[in-house]
């Protein structure tokens, strides 16, 4: 398939997942931010924005600016509205490839973005609505498109972004001086009930962190998401079945996943920031490697040419 189309599909996967993850994070932190006195609110808001990978443009940055930056700002893909706009733009470019129901879903979502009250209470409903719409987009993608190469690119983007978002979600715990409770972290990932069923009475920070990082059955855990990405990469490039990987992306994703999956530690909580940083880095590098290999052949060939 055309590289250009593959790239669009990859980014549809990423942006839809990013909107979903940002909505989850915003929803759970908003509740907490509301409980804080104004000065603290400002500093926490800035840190939160930092974790989401952006920097405030103005000095005066408080709750309403945070809402704008993470939810409604159409000019940046860090925000929910920006991501969904970008997803829709990508779908428009690949309109002949995506199913019409997926396109309509993304398009309707895009037009629905402006129909929300932009205050705190309105944002709660907005986040909820975003979760619904992104779930719908994923459902349409999975049930109305052939699971061919194009779909694999979309799944690849989705899985990488999901690993990244879970890592960010875990990093946001630290922006509050009192720490975010693990109950809320699990709720944020939609993992609360699943976690309780696996863990029953044994309940502490460590288990919750472990669950979101390494659970092999919970789809939003980092290990699970990276495994999904790995599977998609394997389908896309079935050539290296036996020894070694020429494919950079597969190696990066595989190394990160196996490191986490087989990592043994007594002090997970202290190591957590490092894990999060490395996972985010691995996702970024994998994404670059995928771009180089599949979307941007001109550059790669030039490079190979020079070496040989």
């Amino acid at each position: 398939m055309l590289s250009r189309i593959a790239e669009s599909l990859f980014w549809i996967g990423r942006y839809v997942e990013r909107a979903d993850g940002t909505a989850r994070i915003l929803d759970v932190h908003l509740e907490r931010l509301n409980h804080l006195p104004p000065e603290e609110q400002r500093s926490v808001a800035q840190e939160l924005l930092g974790v989401m990978g952006s920097r405030p443009e103005k000095d005066e940055f408080g709750l309403s600016e945070l809402l704008h930056a993470l939810a409604y700002d159409r000019s940046h893909a860090t925000s929910i509205a920006g991501s969904l706009g970008a997803a829709r733009e990508n779908a428009r470019r690949a309109r002949e490839t995506v199913s019409s129901s997926l396109w309509e879903c993304l398009n309707t979502t895009f037009y629905g973005l402006s129909q929300h009250r932009k205050d705190v209470v309105g944002t709660y409903r907005f986040c909820n609505w975003v979760l619904e719409r992104t779930a719908m987009a994923r459902g349409h993608a999975d049930t109305t498109m052939s699971h061919d190469e194009g779909w694999q690119f979309m799944v690849l983007g989705r899985s990488l972004e999901r690993a990244d978002m879970t890592a960010r979600m875990l990093s946001t715990r630290e922006v509050h001086t009192a720490g975010m409770s693990w109950v809320n972290m699990l709720r944020c990932a939609g993992a609360y009930e699943s976690f309780l069923r696996t863990r029953r009475a044994a309940f502490d920070d460590r288990h919750a962190a472990e669950f979101l990082l390494m659970d092999r059955l919970f789809p939003r855990s980092i290990v699970y998401a990276l495994r999904d990405a790995d599977k998609a990469l394997e389908k896309l490039d079935p050539s290296d079945q036996r020894v070694g990987f020429i494919n950079d992306a597969r190696r990066i994703v595989g190394q990160a996943r196996t490191f986490l999956e087989f990592h043994r530690t007594d002090d997970l909580m202290v190591e957590l920031p490092e894990h999060m940083e490395r996972v985010q880095k691995a996702v970024a590098q994998a994404s670059d490697a995928i771009s180089r290999k599949y979307f941007n052949r001109a550059d790669e060939q030039a490079w190979v040419g020079e070496v040989s």
């Binding site: 804080l36 009192a178 720490g179 069923r197 990066i252 190394q255 202290v270 670059d288």
Partner: protein
């Protein structure tokens, strides 16, 4: 004050009740100041938009109760009820005291009956109680606790004193609404939460699970807990699913259980699995067809024998109903003095025992001024409020009381305290009660900060039951000092940011990347 509170003080004065939010003259009481400030900043449009959004959330989440075979969202009012730290400490101690006395009473009643031989209460009182079950006489339940979970209903009278209205030690329900209300309020009225330490309620399921596990039969290392529900048609089914979910345990129906050799098992895909603790959410009458109603399809035959043999813990214990019999209620202050050697911390509502001739005569004369309640009723069933009743109703009541004086008690009509409640386009005073929930793990009685505040949504109505047009309010207990963190999670030592690297040093592909970048430039 905004227009929303226009005429509030006039309406409040008319009820003659104690208003929780405003002292006379419409000055907000100290504990409500923050809230009053937050409400002041809202217009009617804001308030109704939020109330709508909260109602929709409840419906979406399935926070409903079953009314005449129909699922309805449980109405949650936007104005919370606030209890200052000082008042709460008293309530908390009073509730715990009561639970301990009732626990001792039940142990005694199903054992030596010392309370009768010492002349504190008449033997008849116990033996004539509908819920005194001889089937469970003479054994101590596994784990040693009978009242694991209780809900003690308290109200405030016209001068603002808390009084206990009734005890619920069989299957008290409503705690799910406490949990859901708090979640909804945090999103519906965020302004009022800031800078005000409100004690959290989310630890309830964890406390409950740990108490249930602690009271498992002796010798079980890792007890399996289940919640036993009558099924989806029960009015409190939502609560059963929520609690089972939040505790991470199975929600079972009677048909999922088997008793064999005085042990209880549940049927799972991995074969039969032993059950050690059953959190029972069905009435005793339906629990075990071998002992109680033989036509019951909801229970599991053999449970009572298994409990007697110590093979399973049933929470709450079978036969607890004798302690929340309303005639026994009138003796609870004596029971507290007898078992604990203490004075009751929260007083009862004055109660006439209709078996006593003088009392009965007086009550029958003043039937139209009093509230008359059946002793074994719950949920406001069968209760007659004299001033509101028609002549015919009073006549029927009179003959019923005369045929069975043991079955009824009478109390003066209490003007329950009021809290502002949204009704139409403004706030009006509505009567409320309060049900704090207590968990007893055998060593300690823990009282959930707050509890369920039910509110009669109809103006002037004193009946707060959800089945008769009642709603609920979130109940906030303010913390003693402002330093108490809103979430009781200890901060982990991450802040130090020790950089002990555990990941492998980034491997050569990184260098290659760099090269690649340079090549591209």
């Amino acid at each position: 004050m905004s227009d929303l509170f226009e005429d509030y003080s006039i309406a409040a004065e008319r009820t003659g009740a104690y208003d929780e939010m405003f002292a006379p003259g419409q000055a907000a009481r100290p504990s409500y100041r923050q809230l009053a400030g937050a409400l002041d900043g809202l217009s009617l449009a804001d308030v109704s938009a939020r109330a709508d959004s909260m109602a929709r959330t409840f419906l979406d989440r399935g926070v409903t109760f079953d009314y005449a075979g129909e699922e309805r969202p449980f109405p949650l009012d936007i104005v919370p009820r606030v209890i200052p730290a000082g008042e709460w400490t008293v309530l908390e101690r009073g509730v715990a005291q009561r639970v301990q006395a009732l626990e001792a009473f039940l142990n005694d009643v199903y054992g030596k009956m010392a309370v009768v031989s010492d002349g504190v209460i008449p033997r008849r009182l116990v033996t004539t109680s509908q819920h005194f079950h001889r089937q469970v006489h003479g054994f101590e339940p596994a784990g040693g606790v009978r009242v694991h979970i209780s809900g003690i209903d308290v109200v405030r009278d016209a001068v603002g004193t808390f009084r206990v209205l009734e005890d619920n030690v069989r299957v008290p329900s409503g705690v799910s609404y406490v949990l859901e209300n708090r979640r909804a309020m945090a999103k519906g009225l965020p302004e009022a939460f800031s800078q005000q330490p409100i004690r959290p309620v989310e630890e309830y399921p964890r406390r409950l699970l740990s108490a249930l596990r602690k009271t498992a039969p002796a010798g079980v290392d890792d007890p399996t807990v289940v919640v036993l529900t009558p099924g989806v048609f029960n009015s409190a089914y939502f609560e059963h699913t929520l609690l089972a979910g939040l505790m991470g345990v199975e929600l079972v129906e009677g048909r999922d259980l088997i008793c064999r050799g005085n042990r209880v098992y549940m049927r799972t895909t991995a074969g039969e699995q032993r059950v050690d603790v059953i959190y029972k959410r069905i009435d005793d009458d339906f629990l075990d067809p071998l002992q109680f109603r033989s036509d019951s399809m909801l229970g599991c035959p053999g449970l009572v024998n298994a409990a007697r043999a110590g093979g399973v813990t049933i929470a709450n214990a079978v036969g607890n109903g004798v302690a929340d019999d309303k005639l026994v209620y009138s003796y609870v202050p004596d029971l507290i003095r007898y078992y604990l050697g203490e004075e009751p911390i929260i007083a009862n509502v004055d109660t006439y025992r209709l078996e006593e001739d003088a009392a009965r005569e007086e009550v029958l004369d003043r039937l139209d001024e009093l509230v008359v309640k059946p002793v074994d009723g719950s949920g406001g069933k069968g209760l007659v409020i004299g001033p509101d009743a028609t002549r015919e109703e009073l006549e029927t009541l009179r003959s019923r009381v005369l045929t069975d004086p043991r079955g009824w008690i009478a109390q003066p009509v209490l003007q329950l305290s009021t809290v502002p409640t949204l009704s139409g386009d403004k706030f009006g005073p509505r009567h409320v009660d309060l049900r704090p929930f207590a968990i007893n793990d055998g060593d300690d009685v823990w009282v959930l900060p707050g509890g369920l505040t039910r509110v009669a949504l109809k103006e002037g109505s004193l009946i707060v039951n959800s089945s008769q047009g009642g709603g609920s309010k979130d109940t906030w207990v303010l913390a003693e000092s402002p330093d108490v963190p809103i979430e009781a999670e200890p901060r982990h030592s991450i802040s130090i940011r020790e950089r002990t690297s555990v990941w492998p040093v980034e491997s050569s592909w990184r260098d290659r990347d760099r090269q690649a970048e340079q090549q591209q430039q």
